[in-house]
Symmetry: D2
Amino acid sequence: MIKNKLPEINGRIIKISVIGGAKCGKAVYDDAYKIGYCIAKNNAILVCGGLSGVMEACAHGAKDAGGITIGILPAEYESLANKYIDIKIPTGIGYARNVIVVKSGHAVIAIDGGFGTLSEIGYTLSYGKPLIAYQTWTLIPCASEYEPEIHIAKTPEEAVKKAIEHALYYVKNAVL
Amino acid sequence: MIKNKLPEINGRIIKISVIGGAKCGKAVYDDAYKIGYCIAKNNAILVCGGLSGVMEACAHGAKDAGGITIGILPAEYESLANKYIDIKIPTGIGYARNVIVVKSGHAVIAIDGGFGTLSEIGYTLSYGKPLIAYQTWTLIPCASEYEPEIHIAKTPEEAVKKAIEHALYYVKNAVL
Amino acid sequence: MIKNKLPEINGRIIKISVIGGAKCGKAVYDDAYKIGYCIAKNNAILVCGGLSGVMEACAHGAKDAGGITIGILPAEYESLANKYIDIKIPTGIGYARNVIVVKSGHAVIAIDGGFGTLSEIGYTLSYGKPLIAYQTWTLIPCASEYEPEIHIAKTPEEAVKKAIEHALYYVKNAVL
Amino acid sequence: MIKNKLPEINGRIIKISVIGGAKCGKAVYDDAYKIGYCIAKNNAILVCGGLSGVMEACAHGAKDAGGITIGILPAEYESLANKYIDIKIPTGIGYARNVIVVKSGHAVIAIDGGFGTLSEIGYTLSYGKPLIAYQTWTLIPCASEYEPEIHIAKTPEEAVKKAIEHALYYVKNAVL
């Protein structure tokens, strides 16, 4: 019998969500590609919103590294997913699906990103999920109790390294 | 026959969404109360998340001014609404309901606010809905094309004045 | 100060959800109109999906009786609501909004109805919310423990009478 | 480089959703197990709601056959998934997630099932997605235009055979 196996780290399936805009320039695309590539190389599964821009770039990288990709789509149809998505989840709930992109990862990497990404950053912080920021929004809270805990990364590789460390800690310690 | 009438501005039902944290200190509560009070005084309907903190404060103010309040609740049950909510919409979809809070208003006022509020600010900007900011998050984008269009208000009264102006423009001109 | 007041029964705001198809013939339209009319006459608020067919008919009736109507819309935009909807809630979550239509009422009346209505009947029964059936789906369960508790009505008037009785019982006794 | 590969049929990833109750007796559990087993044996991926009862049984079968399982969870946390789920999607949107269970499969098999299953059957028919029924609800519409197109199966094996045939037709011909 063929035994299909998903990639694992220390015997656990680790999913890393990458959030970023549906439009991006070449430099951001290249960095997002590297992030996806490193995620797959490290045996984690990529979760993203499944569309264009950063979402396509990171899925592209993950597939080139032989990884598995999951796209949580806003639309009712699979056909809107980019071609690097293996597992297409067409939610049909529009951008309310941003919550699910965040919840489905054990850590979240934000890169670049527009207003939708901002909503996802808000959700990540709300749920106390590890957030790794690479060249994305800077957030200044109105009051000190809302100082967000954000892990800044200076390179795509560092972003993935931090994400996996935090994800492993999260799956071990958090109420999942 | 009794003809139930909802408040209107220029013959249109105008809904203003107020977003802010479920916890807040007295100064923020008082300001949010004033925002709710002014919304009702100006014959707009208040939409909020229906829970405690800023959500309670603005609903409290709106009811004291004789207005109508709508609470878009995360839970499956009405009983979690604060006591100033007239129309309770228990969505059961958790904090994915933040999208609906934003979508249900013709303009959005952000006051104070934590991470959930940040997700709502992201959604407001995503949908191109007028956003009035009163002592809330400061956002510095990673790239100039994401410079958010935010209308800053210096007092609760100014926040409501701007919100209603923008809401009237929005219902007249936007694809609703 | 003008004190806006919503209709109440015994000092409580009672909301009745009406579910049915987006397409319907004249006989069904007339019956749905009567259901909406009676709901408003009895000082309950109508909740529906906000679109055409049965949803339009019941809202039409409710407005002719001087009532208040709420439309929980699947789309991101208000403009898709029928013209009898006072309070438009554009959820943007597509037909996942069927859950919210059901949850927002204290009792649910099903009339006629297609497959979307069937999903709403399923949700109503799942949540243990009173379901009044008037000329709608007949459901034969696969096992006796799933025998649904459905209150059959023979006229639109009887449907509303039963719905309000059950709604009053529900708000008094259920965990809301 | 390790190339992770998901099971495919004719070069396409085929997902079959199984819907049924969170509680079930031994006979139903055994049949749902067989359904999951056959899905995996035929190189399709199983999608289900990720909880107990039928959802556990079919995931159990799929894993015993070396397959891949996806659980679309209502809760915010992964920990509520049954132990046979590989890819846990904690949506946090409650039973509104039923829509996503249906949308994520290329065909849907209903077995046994209570009221939640009924909502999923309604959604499956709404979206024109192939529905295979094995010992589940019998539905009698109120009008002939709502006659549902349901493919009846007499054994678990037949249910899976029909589901895969219809799924292959669906991915080839439907607007995905």
